[in-house]
Structures are given as structure tokens and as C-alpha cells.
Amino acid sequence: MPSTPPPEVYVAGVGLTPVGEHWNVSLRELALEAIEAARADAGGLRPQALFAANMLAPALSGQTHLGVLLADSAGLRGIEATSFEAAGASGGVALRQAYLAVRSGLIEVALVIGVEKITDRVGPAVEAARSMAGDADHEAVQGLTPAAQAGLLMRRYLHESGAPEDALAGFAVNAHANGLMSDHAFLRRAISVEDYRQAPREDDPLNLFDVAPLADGAAALLLTRRAALPSGGRPDVRVAGSSVATAATALHDQADMLGLSAAAESARRARLQAGVESDQISLFELHDAYSVFAPLSLEAGGFAERGQGWRLAAGGQIGLTGPYPICTFGGSKARGEVGGATGVYQAAEVVLQLQGRAGKNQVAGASTGLAQCLGGAGATAATHIFVAE
């Protein structure tokens, strides 16, 4: 019996809402805005399945069952709809599931919607909700928060690499420089290395500029086969590599915590599938919820040697015109940290870059883009590679 190859998967359209403190907008309204923008961008395609990504709605909005909620409120009642939660990696994980659905041939058009509504609550309730991503019995019970995990990692990184105390300044400076020009970024102001040095302390050695601001946001994209793509006179963007990998849940159980093994493994698998080497990547949307994850992700992704990732920022090589552009619309640091929606924002940002639609944030000649989001302190990593055709 002749076998037909699985369909290649393309991005038909993307929709991004401005990240911010949207006190006048609900979770479902925010999601609707992104879904409608993505569908309009895809020439009105109607999805047969919805893949929702969210991390905090159960704890902060008292809402589970987001798949049906978002499908129902987006005028898509009746379709298959499920939500996916993998902490900060939820967006990449939902994208992976949508990719598998289209790739399997069973779904022709899949909608990925990442949404996070954080600012209805503040303070200890938000810290407790975000801490649920760790090991509840052995981390959260000790009062460990995601910021504290980042503090532990950053102290160890500086200790092992011998990098100076302000080694990570360049990552915050780059994110803010890119966010300044981005229509959907939360923080749009430039900062200097001196601002970084003077910033108030958070969970030491973290300072204020090592910590991405929590904010509300929703982003959506539609995946489909090539034959169903809208004719728009722009490059087609294919999902060339897709991978999710995991490490230990608890930071203390990770045998080599600075190696970010899940990030390294998912990047390796995605590159292998796409047939792409690190030096062919035009831009890298990495998950800088805390600045230390930038050098760790660069090292895990094969862009820098172990303990040397910080030098890329110090040397100005991560800017839009450098050899390794990262966080091209501001990353979590300036776009805003949107929890489970992060991976969908990243993917949409890569698509805008590959189609030459990034405006002042455009990376010239971008043809291959990498998006990687992390759940917990690198416990889950989802990596996708997109190629313009």
C-alpha cells in the first residue's frame, strides 16, 4: 500500500495583543482579541481544534476548563478544544500539540491561543500561584519562589563562570532597547548599564533589571497545511522543528542545573528535525523571565561555550544587527512576562521576523528563527524552529 508523507505544517496567521496591566479586560476578552487578530491575519480561516496555553488561571482567576471557555467565547462553540499547562512552557507545549495534530493529517486548521491574566491579583497570592510550578512538597514548602530559583542559579552561574557581578547587564539593556520600538511591549524605555548597576536588589544577586515584569497578554496563531494557506504575497513560514523535553521537576534534583538539560535536549532534537545548525539561526526568542536564563539558554542551545554566554551580551552581539539577535521584541524583560502565553508570543514574533513584518525591530534577512520557552527552572523546555520559504 503506498504511504503518503505527513503534511508539512505552516503558520497561516498570527495575532498579538499589547502586553500590559489590562484591568478593564477579562481573560476571555483578552484571548478573543488575539484569536480574532490571528484569524483575520489568516484570511478568516476557521480552526477545527483549539489548543489553549495557560498557567495561572486556576489559581488566580478560579477558572479551569479553558479550552471550552475560550472556544465558546470566540464564536467557535462545538470544535475540539483543550488547554495545556506546563508552567512557563505552556505556550510551546500547546504549539507542539497543535503541530502534531496538523502533522498527523487528522486536523486541517489548528488554533493555538496563549493567554495569561495575572494583574487581577498582586503580592503573595501571585508568588504562591507561580511557586506551584516547582515541587510543592520539597520546594514551595520551603518558601522557594521562581525568583528565588533564579537567584540560586545566578549566584551559582557567577560563581562557576567567574563572571563579574554586572555580567548580565547587557541582556536587560538589549531587551529594553528592543522593547522600546515594539508595539506590543509592556516596557518601552531604554536603560543603560549604569541603570542596571544602580538598580535596587531583589532576591540577591538578582536586581530589579534581572526580573521580567509580570503582565497580562494573549497571543494566537493558526497552523495548517500548505494547500490551505491564505494567499497574501508574503513568505510562507514552515514549522521545521518541534520538540519538548523535560528534566527533574525540582531545581535541586537537576544533576547539572547550569546545563539546562531540557533546553539543550529539545533544541538538539528540533535542530536535528529541521536539519539546521546553530550558525544558521537568524534569531533566537529565548525565555528571559530572569536574566540568568538568557546566557544559560544560549549555552544550552549551542550558541556559546559553557560559562561564556554572558560574554555575548557584554560584547553587544545579541542586538538586532549582531550575529545572535535575541529577544527581538523585548523578550520577557521588556515585552512583559506572560507566563503560559510566552511560547505563543515568541512563535508569533519569529513569524513576524521571517515575513519581514517586524517594523523597526526587523532582523535584516531573517530566514530561520528559533523559539524556546521554559517551564519552572528549566524543568520543561519547548523548542520550535521556523523557516521562511
Binding site: P124, A128, S131, D137, G143, L152, R155, H252
Partner: protein, 133 residues
């Protein structure tokens, strides 16, 4: 109230009881019945000494619910002498600055409280080692 949830962990939380893998002798904490090193079943209990050293540390300034009263507090990754790593708050620090590599020992302290009528959760914390092991 989550009484049973904390009660069933009392051996590990109050006495640092973990496991040792009968196949590869890997020491396991917290107990998980499967050796994370070789994947074999590991249900033999093992009493840890409670001694270790600081692998990394930080100060929590924005505390989650249940920890507001004690913030800011110091939390650390502790490398136990027997091998495994765990997360624990540091206590009884006095004037001594915390450093990577500092020897520490386990003590039992209150971890969190759930309001005036809620339960108090006790468990392990670590303090600077009082005497050489």
C-alpha cells in the same frame, strides 16, 4: 487544612529519612521509591546525617502566601554529605555571612503558617554547622 498531606511526609521532614538504592547504592532524598540514577526500585530506607554544605543561596524578598511574616528569609541549595541536594531555608545565621561551601547542619523549625486558625507546618531547615563533622 492539609493535615494528611504534611503528616505523611513526617519521616522525611522531621528526620531526613530517605532511601538507598539496593542496586547502585545511590542515596536518595527525598524518597521516591525509584532510583533516579539507575531506574531500579529503591525502597530501602536510609537515615541521612543532616550534614552538608551550601551550594547556592539567595534572599526571598517577595514572599508567597504563608511566608509573609518571616520575609525576607534566606533559602539555599544544600548538598548533603551523602550526595543528594535539597532546598531549605537557612536559619540561626547571626552575623556570619553566608558563603558557597559553608558547612551546615539540619534543624527542625516552623516552615509556614496558614493564618490564626490554620495549621503550622514544621520541617527541616539548616544552620551553620556548630562543630566539625
Amino acid at each position: 487544612m492539609e493535615v494528611s498531606r504534611h503528616w505523611r511526609l513526617k519521616q522525611q521532614r522531621y528526620a531526613l529519612v530517605g532511601e538507598v538504592c539496593p542496586s547502585c547504592q545511590h542515596k536518595i532524598f527525598p524518597p521516591r521509591d525509584i532510583c533516579p540514577d539507575c531506574g531500579q526500585e529503591a525502597r530501602t530506607t536510609y537515615q541521612f546525617s543532616g550534614r552538608g554544605e551550601v551550594f547556592s543561596f539567595t534572599t526571598v524578598r517577595n514572599a508567597p502566601t504563608g511566608f509573609e511574616e518571616t520575609a525576607p528569609y534566606t533559602v539555599a541549595l544544600i548538598k548533603l554529605d551523602e550526595g543528594p541536594m535539597l532546598t531549605a531555608q537557612l536559619t540561626d545565621l547571626g552575623e556570619k555571612p553566608v558563603e558557597i561551601g559553608m558547612p551546615v547542619e539540619m534543624v527542625t523549625r516552623r516552615l509556614r503558617s496558614d493564618g490564626d486558625r490554620g495549621m503550622l507546618v514544621y520541617g527541616y531547615k539548616f544552620r551553620p554547622a556548630l562543630k566539625a563533622a
